[in-house]
């Protein structure tokens, strides 16, 4: 059976209208390719898109790795990863970066003992899932408030974490960066870089205190029940976006990219396992 419309979900991170605008070209190409009306949706948090995918109202989205794990664990038959954004060097990983204010004297995880620590969004891979697993391994203590850190809380998102640390609301936090380039620029891409570009923070005021193992970039997923030809067309379209229209690819990828390359579910098994364990451990 065919489809009558196609909905693309896009995730937060910058001004909603900017996001819609930078994905507008993708919408047009999709409309051309599929011949049905295409709509873009940009809810303010991860969960809106995830619910859309689970409920079947959103057909394609670019998820974070943890977000994909959540969808998969809720309903393994809902979506399927097809592509991933590649960095300029061809890799498709990034890091969760722990950071603090320079003048706080904090330089490593141990220094935050008894102080406050901030995650971003609970569905964020780098802002929550990975650090919540790797940091306890490093410190040897759980991430419960009061156990090792004085207080652990969610700020709501990467931007909020950066601002909160910069303001001194919390002593340290985690956010994402590609880890390439220079600290003082906020690295080549990532939330820190955006904050620097926006004039929000001065990297001289911040220090890196921790860095996760490489984290896989989140996949672009398609709903599994979509007809085979639609999935093929969409995979081809996004996969070839960089060649077709480099500007558009820059907008969709939210920065410089080597393009979108194919990926499969297996690549995310580790992340899914991490999340599964977290669920099992009941926190």
């Amino acid at each position: 059976e065919g489809i009558t419309q196609f909905n693309i979900g896009i995730l937060g991170g910058e001004n909603a209208q900017d996001r819609l605008n930078s994905n507008e070209c993708l919408r047009k190409y999709t409309e051309e390719a599929l011949g049905v009306p295409v709509k873009l949706f940009a809810p303010a948090d991860y969960d809106g898109v995830i619910q859309g995918l689970l409920g079947g109202t959103i057909d394609m989205a670019w998820l974070g790795a943890s977000g994909y794990a959540k969808v998969y664990l809720t309903d393994a038959d809902a979506v399927e990863p097809v592509l991933v954004k590649a960095n300029l060097d061809g890799s498709y990983t990034y890091h969760s970066i722990g950071f603090a204010r320079q003048d706080s004297g904090i330089t490593k995880l141990a220094d935050i003992k008894g102080k406050s620590f901030g995650f971003g969004d609970p569905n964020s891979t780098s802002g929550y899932l990975i650090p919540s697993v790797e940091i306890p391994q490093a410190t040897g203590h759980s991430m419960e408030s009061g156990e090792y850190f004085g207080e652990v809380k969610f700020t709501g998102g990467h931007e909020q974490t950066i601002v909160a640390v910069n303001n001194g609301d919390i002593d340290a936090g985690v956010t994402w960066a590609d880890g390439q380039g220079n600290w003082e620029d906020g690295y080549n891409s990532g939330a820190l870089r955006k904050a620097v570009d926006a004039g929000l923070v001065d990297m001289n005021d911040l220090v890196e205190i921790w860095r996760s193992k490489p984290i896989p970039e989140g996949p672009i997923v398609l709903r599994k029940v979509l007809p085979e030809d639609v999935r093929a067309k969409m995979t081809a379209l996004v996969g070839g976006l960089k060649e077709k229209d480099a500007d558009c690819a820059y907008g969709v990828a939210a920065g410089e990219t080597a393009g979108f390359v194919p990926i499969t579910h297996d690549y995310y098994e580790t992340i899914i396992e991490v999340r599964r364990q977290k669920i099992a451990s009941g926190s």
């Binding site: 809380k153 700020t155 609301d169």
Partner: protein, 287 residues
């Protein structure tokens, strides 16, 4: 006594004309309303990711997912209740303090913006506009701006809600004050009482039942508002609810626990305040 035939015919014709005009307006209004509703619904439906009719049968999917998990883990619930009580207290505190401050400010603004009572009669329009604006700004906007200034926590929510409460209660308070009898005020003025004394003794006893009834209702609304502001990152139980809900599977038992806690609180406060208000207003009648 009755009209002549011609006069009656006249009267009938003019009434018929009146009826036709009314029918026309009434019909047009009804048609306009129906059109607005239908086209509005269609527009909203078209712009939605999922259609209304397609989604209708899935409406219980999410609640079912949540409750089935909570059902399996029902053993956790008591512990979770205890765990979230501090956040609940924080939410209640936010609501209480903001209602308190909001009501105090509203009382002052209301008296200042009521014709015949104002300390500075010329400035009443200014105070009225002020209340209009305070009412119009969504709480969430103030809260988010304040989070930027003050950092997270309950205080931005408290200020935001108090701000809105001031505007909303101010309008109701001033309506009540407008209906108050000014004779006692004049009596007090004649003994040389100052403005504050005139209001305190002349107006407050009259409006107190109504004002406190409004304030109680606001407290109820504010509990909900403070829970919601927690949703956008401003402390209290709403924050816990949001984090749990967003994480999803594995925390649905917490979602149910928080939800039950919140819902129960709202019900209880609702019930108490309903009765208190009925008493206040009835007491006024009895007096």
């Amino acid at each position: 006594m009755t009209l002549a035939n011609a006069a009656l015919a006249n009267e009938t014709a003019s009434y018929l004309a009146h009826v036709r005009r009314k029918r026309l307006y009434g019909g047009a209004l009804l048609a306009l309303f129906a059109l607005l509703m239908l086209s509005g619904f269609k527009l909203a439906n078209d712009r939605n990711a999922g259609g209304f009719w397609d989604g209708l049968h899935r409406i219980f999917d999410f609640p079912a997912e949540i409750f089935s998990e909570a059902f399996v883990n029902w053993r956790n619930l008591p512990g979770l209740f205890v765990k979230f009580v501090p956040s609940l207290i924080e939410t209640l505190n936010i609501a209480a303090v903001s209602t308190l401050f909001g009501a105090l400010a509203a009382a002052a603004l209301a008296l200042l913006s009521t014709r015949g009572l104002s300390l500075w009669p010329r400035l009443t329009p200014l105070f009225r506009r002020m209340m209009d604006v305070m009412r119009a700004i969504p709480e969430i906007v103030i809260a988010l701006v304040l989070i930027f200034l003050l950092g997270g926590g309950p205080v931005p929510a408290m200020i935001a809600i108090a701000f809105h409460t001031t505007g909303a209660l101010g309008k109701l308070f001033s309506e009540a004050a407008e209906n108050a009898d000014t004779k006692p005020v004049e009596g007090l003025a004649s003994v040389g009482a100052g403005w504050a004394q005139r209001m305190w003794f002349g107006i407050l006893p009259q409006v107190a039942p109504n004002w406190s009834s409004y304030a109680l209702l606001r407290f109820e609304i504010n509990i909900r508002a403070s829970a919601i502001l927690g949703f956008v990152g401003s402390g209290g139980i709403g924050y816990d609810l949001k984090t749990a809900l967003q994480w999803g599977q594995g925390k649905y038992d917490a979602v149910v626990a928080i939800f039950a806690l919140l819902f129960l609180t709202i019900m209880i406060v609702d019930h108490i305040s309903d009765r208190a208000r009925a008493r206040l207003v009835k007491g006024e009648r009895a007096a």
